[in-house]
């Protein structure tokens, strides 16, 4: 299209130069242009949080941001958190505590939880529940998601102590 805009975004440490329609949502840039399909779309009213990524270190619903707004920014998605051989403590926590069933909400949940733990490294159950209020899960009833985040918080704290 003629009115495309050139932007550059650093995604999971990789600089990406792309031309996008001004109205392209960040989530579609990630999914359709860059092939990072770990961020999901679950609603059209920014309620579900399945699309949550980190934009310049802060969690954000990537369905509410235009790709052009991310020009010059750093984006981190679930694909940048860890691999199956080197899991992020949150990924490990979700696995160990059965914090997922269908897995559709999980990437967004993990990204939102990462932000929560950044701000509140040792959250109470109440803080976790309120911190994840913007992310819907239909499968787990959240019980094991809370446990997963607690598991990760403990792991990250003890890693810090031993570091």
């Amino acid at each position: 299209m003629s009115d495309e805009v050139a932007i550059s975004v650093t995604v999971n440490g990789q600089v990406e130069h792309v031309r996008v329609e001004p109205r392209l949502l960040l989530v579609h840039l990630l999914r359709d242009e860059l092939g990072l399909t770990g961020s999901h779309v679950g609603c059209d009213t920014s309620n579900c949080g399945a699309c949550t990524v980190q934009l310049d270190g802060q969690s954000c619903k990537s369905c509410t941001v235009l790709a052009v707004q991310a020009d010059g920014s750093e984006v981190k998605t679930i694909e940048g958190m860890g691999t199956e051989d080197d899991l992020h403590p949150l990924q490990e926590g979700f696995w160990a505590k059965h914090g997922l069933q269908c897995g559709y909400c999980t990437p967004g949940m993990i990204m939102a939880a990462a932000d929560l733990l950044e701000r509140t490294p040792n959250p109470t159950e109440e803080e976790i529940r309120h911190g994840l209020e913007g992310n819907l899960c239909r499968c787990t009833g959240y019980h094991n998601i809370v446990k997963a985040v607690q598991h990760a918080a403990t792991a990250m704290q003890s890693a810090e102590v031993s570091a």
Binding site: G103, P107, V146
Partner: protein, 790 residues
Amino acid sequence: MTLMDDRTSGNHVGRSLRRKEDPRLITGQATYVDDINITGLLHAAIVRSPEAHAKILSIDASAAMARDDVHAVYTGEDMADLLAPLPMAWAPDGVEVHNPEHWPLARGEVKHVGDPVAIVLGTDRYAVIDAAEDVLVEYEPLPVVTDIEQALEPGHALVHEQFGTNEVHKWSLGGGDMEAGFAAADVIIERRVVNHRVSGAPIEPRGVLADYKAGAITVHTSTQVPHFVRLFMGLMLGISEERVRIIAPEVGGGFGAKLQVTGEEMLCAWASRKTRKPVKWIETRSEHMATCHHGRDQIATVRLGAKRDGTLTAMHADIVADMGAYLMLLTPTIPSLGAFVMGGVYKIPAITTDITGVFTNKCATDAIRGAGRPEATHMVEVCMDQLADELGMDRLELRRKNFIPKEAFPYETALGIVYDSGDYHAALDLLMEKLDLPALEREKEELAAKGIRRGIGFSTYTEICGLAPSRVTGPAGFGLQTGLWESAIVRVTVTGAVTVYTGTSPHGQGHETTMAQVVADKLGVDPQNVEIMHGDTGTGAMGLGTYGSRTTAVGTESVARASDKVVEKAKAIVAHALEAAPEDIELRDGKFSVQGSPDKGMTLAEVSGMAHVRPELLPEGMAPGLDETSFYDPNNFVFPFGAHACVVDVEEDTGKVKVVRYVAIDDCGPAINPTIIDGQVHGGIAQAIGQALYEHVMYDEDGQLVTGTFVDYALPTAAELPSFETDRTETPSPVNSLGVKGIGEAGTIAASPAVLNAVVDALRPLGVTYLNMPLSSESVWNAITEGSRA
């Protein structure tokens, strides 16, 4: 990377193995439908009716067609070559069911908001959405039917003129002498019990990617039932079934919403054949709320009779059920599924359920998690509390007095249904141990002083699941036009790796893990080396899909039986190699050997190696390979059960209900993986709490959908739910060799009456004796205000 923390050899069943499916899901590498793209694909957007009931006067697609990136627009008229309308699978003997033709795109009239009218295809995801808005449809509005009780009045406007009535069907299930039962009662209560309309709302909406090439079609669809979709797609499109391949890739939750053969699946397949290009449609959440089938929506008049001492004598449920505008795959059967367990866990000598299905100008209802059984359980358990109140009897004493005792199993109810096994007292005893009711009661007064009303509610339930057995559910019985068996293939490769094919189609339940646990124990291998393949009609086993809590009780049993056959063949091979009798061969610590001489033996890999590489060493006449199939149709349903308690605090000033504790004891037979069972229970309870307190699909009297997004349709968030306290009793089922029962729906079936009973318990001191769901702040506050006025 280890699969579990505490693995010892053998005996994987019963352990909380970490899920095998999780590594791909937690790293963002899983492949859902919308993650798949095929070169040259066209995106689809669907033009949907804004009217609840109208004639289509004209459709003008010229402006849409003129847009950049738009490839084609099709309407119902273009699809005249379909060989059959969308299916409805129920044809019970002796029951007349009014079933209007239902096409993927409306023909002539639209019947509810969201009814599809046209499909726009184009090369850009955004462009087709714009173009869909440019398709001009002229409608002539027709009278709208929304209220199921009024809809049955003579002279009322009709959804489908041709039937002369809004009644879909009448169906009854009864047993015992109703007249004598009610005549023997000293007390009869009657309540109007509402199970309002809800949405399944999986977080992944539906999605389809259809690719027609050279006479064959491959369709990726977010479904629970790939084999059903294949069968009907072949019939509707006139493609022989072997050339239709349906793949359910990673599926982001179902909850019954994806137990369907949908118009959108047919539409994409048809459009792909028409354009000779791959066609992809991804549902928006707004579309999902308006057009993916809803659940519940029943109004029941329930009568329950008892002697003064609490002995139940008869129960009658008269249910009017909103079917919506069309009958989809199972629409009219759903209330009937509840009728099978009407009466719940109690000895009741006479029980009858009468069902009237009604058309309205709303989206169709169909199976949503529990499908009829949550509604029935709600009726039974809410009325048990109402009866206890009427009798001035303790509600738990009333329950215990009427429980079917454990010695009575297998127990034939008044309806002729045989409950397989149960120990209801044990479940309730364990619940009470965990709950500490006296302490909760003591806190009541303290809280009341602060304007908070504490309530405790109970639900003791059983449910009917493991859907099968064909002789009961099928054409000669209940009337589904299919058998409900399962099949499995267990294939051992030359290196001893095991691939299992199942006809079920799990979508979050963890069967890749639990089935692997069962197979690992059967074959003496590591579950990590057992791969479970599902959800693809092109590879492996036939089956009927995942719903009705049937995948473990029917699907896994079938996997177990195929594994047994593999073991049998392996033993024959080993016996031949060691010059022993097959019956003397045992499998121990991963080795097949002669009993008493464990050092001479063969592993499964060695046996399989021989069966594939050196077939000449096999017993005379034995075919090579180690690959067995099993079909399994059980002889009965299975009946999980349990006892749940909900503790709520209600703010007197605002009517706000907070669930402060939820304790659940469930029994699904021997646990294959306790952590996975707990997870199913958690999610099930959350969904029922959602229905009881927050979720409500609402239409206004013009048939406009009021709750069209997640803004208005409120799924519970983490902040609204407590942590759940769960435990189990384990009463094996005699129906299958594993002793297992289903657990996917139990939480949802049990929980809504526990919540409602808790809220009524909280409000009794304020004069409120009964109210219906949803227990929104507003309705609770109104009840408080009226109650204290009364």
